[in-house]
Structure formats: C-alpha cells, structure tokens
C-alpha cells in the first residue's frame, strides 16, 4: 500500500518552502542589486554618459554605442577588452588578475567585461575604438579563392557607408547555431578598398573546429544578413615615404590587398615589395591580379614563394620559406619599413630576418591578432 497522503503532504511542504525561498531571492535581487544611474567620464570629459549600473563596463559602453573588441563575449578569457579605468573601478576581481601584468595593474588597466558599473567612473578609450560602430549588411557574393579560403563580399544596409583605413579589421558576428549556444565575434581584416564605402570584403580561411569559420564555410549563403562591429585596429600605412616590405601568408593577404589597390588608386607611389608565402600552388590566390599590378606600377613588386611546390605545379617562381626569400631579395633593409600579417610562426621567423637586416623595431608593424 503506497502511503499517498504523506507523500503528497511532504511534496507540497517541500515545494512550498522552495517556492517561497525563490520568491524572496527574486525580490532581493530586484531591490538589492540596484545600483542606480552612474556617470561614465570617457577621455577626461570628451564624452559623458549616464548608464544604469549593474552591468559590466563592456556591456554598458556597448549600450551607448562604444564598441570595445571582445573575442570571448565577456567571459573574461581573451583580454581584448582592456581599458584604463582611472577612477571608480573598485577592487580588481580575481578573474582580472589572471590576465593583467603588474605594470598594467599599476596603470589601472582593467578587463572591462569583468568590472561591474557600481558607481561613477572615469575611463580612457583609444580614439580608434570610439569611431567603431555596429553595422548590418547582406552577403552579396561568396567566392572560393582556394580549397580552404573564401572571399566574402558584404553590402552594407545599416548604416550604408563605412569609413576606414586600409589595414583595419572588423569583428564579424557568428550567430548561435548547432552546438554553439551563443553568438561569438571573430576579427577579420578588410581586403576591400575604403573608396568603395558601401561594401566590405573579407578573406576568411577555414580554421579546423573554428566556431565562426565553420559557420561561414558551411552555413552562410549569398543573401544572408550579417552583423559586424568596427573598424578597429591601428595597422595601416605609415605617413612616411620609406620603402616598404610586406610579408604575408594565407589569409594574411587581406590588409595588403586593400593597401595596394588603395595606393594604386590614389597615386601613392612608395616603393613596395610584397612577399606572399604558401606551401604549394593550390594555396595561392589573386595571383593574376597582383601580377597585373606589378606590371602596371613601377613601385610595386610582387614576390610569391612556395615552400614545397608539387611537381604538377610547374612552379618557376621563388621557392623556399618565405622568410628566406625575403632574406635574399632585400639587400639593404636599413631604410625600409616592414609590415607583417601572418601566424605567430611566420612572424617569429620574419623577426629573425628583420633583425639580421638591421631594421629597428619601431619600423616593424604587425597586424596584431594572431
């Protein structure tokens, strides 16, 4: 005989207790965790915003149209969202300590996705982040450049125009899909020309197991709507007249493709040698277009190099590691500037060649996310 009454009574009692506790907690959260309105002073009075307290600095700024880059979506793992909070930051959270150096802590640099706005604050936001915005666009064309690199052409819908310098990047939003529960943002340099300001182009290489690239390669189709923030980054052509050496591999082509076409269109005739490294011929792309520019413009030289060409490639160009090729082609780099866009491995190898040529660090520019 199952004792029904005691079971029902026990269950009811348990539910009643738990529910009333839940109600108390909900009320408490509503009234205790209220921080009221807080004033955020950006760049010493440059901009004064008032936000409702309780959210992270990153989120609060986003709500006011200031987009700080973040790769991890506010989880406190990527450290992209660092800003100096000169006043009102409060004690440093343990999650921030793991990501900040001693010098940064002394300078009041904080991980803004981990700092809650609880009171008035003063912070410093770099200029180029202030001009970043949120954009919506439609995928106009997807082209395959190689077996694992695609070119994405996006026409802007809202706002319709974007202003940027060649070399800057945007953060593309990959929506939740499949096992991926939340949207993530990934950074891609723009390969398009700023003059054509109603669309952007991205060169995207498939990352094995990558959240965003898997979405781009398997699910994104022409006509789909996409969102992105930007423009970000201070990788751009310098103001000088110095000779330039560009070194890139794979999707590192993007900022340089933007730069060279911009230079051609605006008559910026600085001597430039562009070294593009790959393993075999199948990994090269935009060859014809770059060779054409090489022919048309005296100041531009394009040097593709393969490190392990296959026989059927019938490759007659340079061979070897791209960094060795640079070593051979640049006799005197002492007056040159070097622009690097590639993986950490390539950047390391390039660093050694650069040192050997006697080029000082202040004349070496990196595309800093890799």
């Amino acid at each position: 005989m199952i004792p029904v009454l005691p079971i029902i009574l026990a269950a009811t009692a348990a539910c009643a207790v738990t529910t009333s506790l839940a109600a108390v907690l909900l009320l408490a959260e509503r009234y205790l965790v209220k921080y009221g309105k807080c004033k955020l002073d950006v760049n010493s009075g440059d901009r004064l915003i008032e936000v409702k307290g309780g959210k992270s600095v990153l989120e609060s700024l986003k709500g006011e149209g200031i987009f700080i880059p973040s790769a991890c979506g506010g989880r406190g793992t990527c450290a992209y969202c660092k800003l100096k909070i000169t006043e009102g930051g409060g004690p440093v959270a343990p999650t921030e300590l793991a990501l900040l150096t001693e010098q940064e802590l002394a300078d009041n640099v904080r991980i803004t996705c981990q700092v809650k706005v609880r009171n008035d604050m003063s912070l410093l936001v770099p200029e180029h982040l202030l001009s970043a915005g949120e954009y919506r666009g439609v995928v106009e064309r997807i082209t395959d450049l190689t077996h694992d690199i695609k070119n994405l052409r996006i026409r802007l819908t809202e706002p319709e125009r974007i202003k940027y310098r060649p070399g800057q990047y945007i953060q593309l939003e990959a929506p939740a899909y499949g096992d991926n529960p939340e949207a993530v943002y990934r950074a891609y340099s723009m390969s398009s020309m700023p003059d054509e300001d109603n669309c952007i182009e991205l060169i995207i290489r498939l990352v094995p197991g990558g959240i965003c690239t898997t979405w781009v390669f398997t699910m994104l189709a022409e006509g789909d709507e996409v969102r992105f923030n930007g423009p970000y980054g201070d990788f751009h052509l310098s103001e000088t007249d110095r000779e330039m050496v560009w070194i890139a591999g794979g999707s590192g082509m993007a900022p340089f493709w933007s730069m060279v076409r911009h230079m051609a269109a605006h008559g910026i005739a600085r001597k430039t040698t562009y070294f593009f490294g790959a393993v075999r011929a199948a990994d090269l792309f935009l060859l014809d277009e770059l060779r054409k520019l090489d022919d048309q413009h005296e100041w531009f030289t394009f040097v593709p190099a393969l490190s392990a060409p296959a026989d059927e490639d019938k490759w007659y160009g340079e061979t070897g590691l791209i960094t060795d090729v640079v070593g051979r082609h640049v006799p005197d780099g002492s007056q040159a500037e070097v622009y690097l866009c590639g993986s950490p491995g390539m950047v390391d190898a390039a660093g050694r060649v650069i040192e050997a040529k006697g080029i000082p660090p202040e004349r070496v520019f990196f595309d800093k996310f890799g």
């Binding site: 793992t77 990527c78 793991a98 096992d179 529960p181 990558g210 393993v279 590691l321 390391d348």
Partner: protein
C-alpha cells in the same frame, strides 16, 4: 567547466561525446601515462618539440630528426585562450604528425601541448584533438615501448 563545452571556445569543445566526468577522464589518462612509465611533461615535451619544428616550417612538411616522423603545421590566424581560465592565449592552428612508415597520424594544437603538460588533460573521447598517451609513446618512442628512434633529446 563550461569553457570545455562545444561552442564556448571552439566549435566541438574539448570533451567530444565522452559521458565521463572531467575528474574521471583525468584519472584514467593519468593511470595510462603512469603505466607507460612516463609523466605528462614527458609527453607534452615530445609533442612540443614536434609542434615547434612544424611551426618553423611555415606550413611545409618537416621531417623530424631521428625517426620516420613528419610534422606539418596548418596555420590559422587568431588565438584561443586556455579553457582552464588562467588567461593564457595560444596560437590557433593544428599540427599533423605522420609516421611515414606506418601511416599513423596524430593531430593536435599548441593548446593541446599546454593542456597535457600543465593539466594532464588529453581531451575527452570523440574530441577531434583527443590524444591517446599510448599512441604518442608508440610514435615518438617514449617510455616502455622504446624504438631505436629517440626524438625527444633534440
């Protein structure tokens, strides 16, 4: 650890379709490594040497000295943080180590090297970068299965 789940840091996550808890996964692998007479650092060390050689090769295949192993690095821009939350960032991309004689392949990432060396985490079964300690020992000739090749001293 929510960071180990699919979609948090990478598409497939770090646990594959393994239904065991993290503690059990770590324990089982620890026992396997001890049975080989090795430590996590030994295995991570061998993988790290191969990884660095592959990266230096800039995506071209690199023949590892002292054996039949060939390593190749497939580049990817960007960095991925460690799911353990220490704030360390690692280059994205994968290393493929192939044994030219047996055609066996091992695929892992610079992050794997850190997870194995520092935390003894070889990823869950079914994860694309899951590494079996015994397989590493066999391919690199470590521990209780000595071949005539010894690549770890370089």
């Amino acid at each position: 650890m929510e960071l180990l789940a699919p979609g948090a840091l990478c598409r497939d996550g770090f646990l594959g379709d393994d239904h065991r808890g993290l503690a059990e996964i770590l324990d089982t692998d620890r026992a396997a490594v001890e049975a080989l007479g090795l430590t996590h650092r030994d295995i991570a060390g061998a993988l790290d040497t191969a990884c660095r050689a592959a990266i230096a090769g800039l995506e071209a295949p690199v023949h590892l000295p002292g054996g039949n192993l060939v390593a190749q690095f497939h580049d990817a821009m960007g960095v991925i943080p460690s799911p353990w939350g220490e704030g360390k960032l690692f280059a994205k991309g994968e290393v493929v180590v192939t044994d030219a004689a047996t055609e066996e392949r091992l695929i892992y990432t610079p992050l794997s090297v850190h997870l194995i060396g520092e935390h003894g985490f070889y990823e869950g079964r079914g994860s694309p970068y899951r590494i079996e300690p015994a397989k590493v020992a066999r391919m690199f000739g470590l521990g209780k299965h000595p071949n005539d090749s010894d690549t770890t001293s370089e």
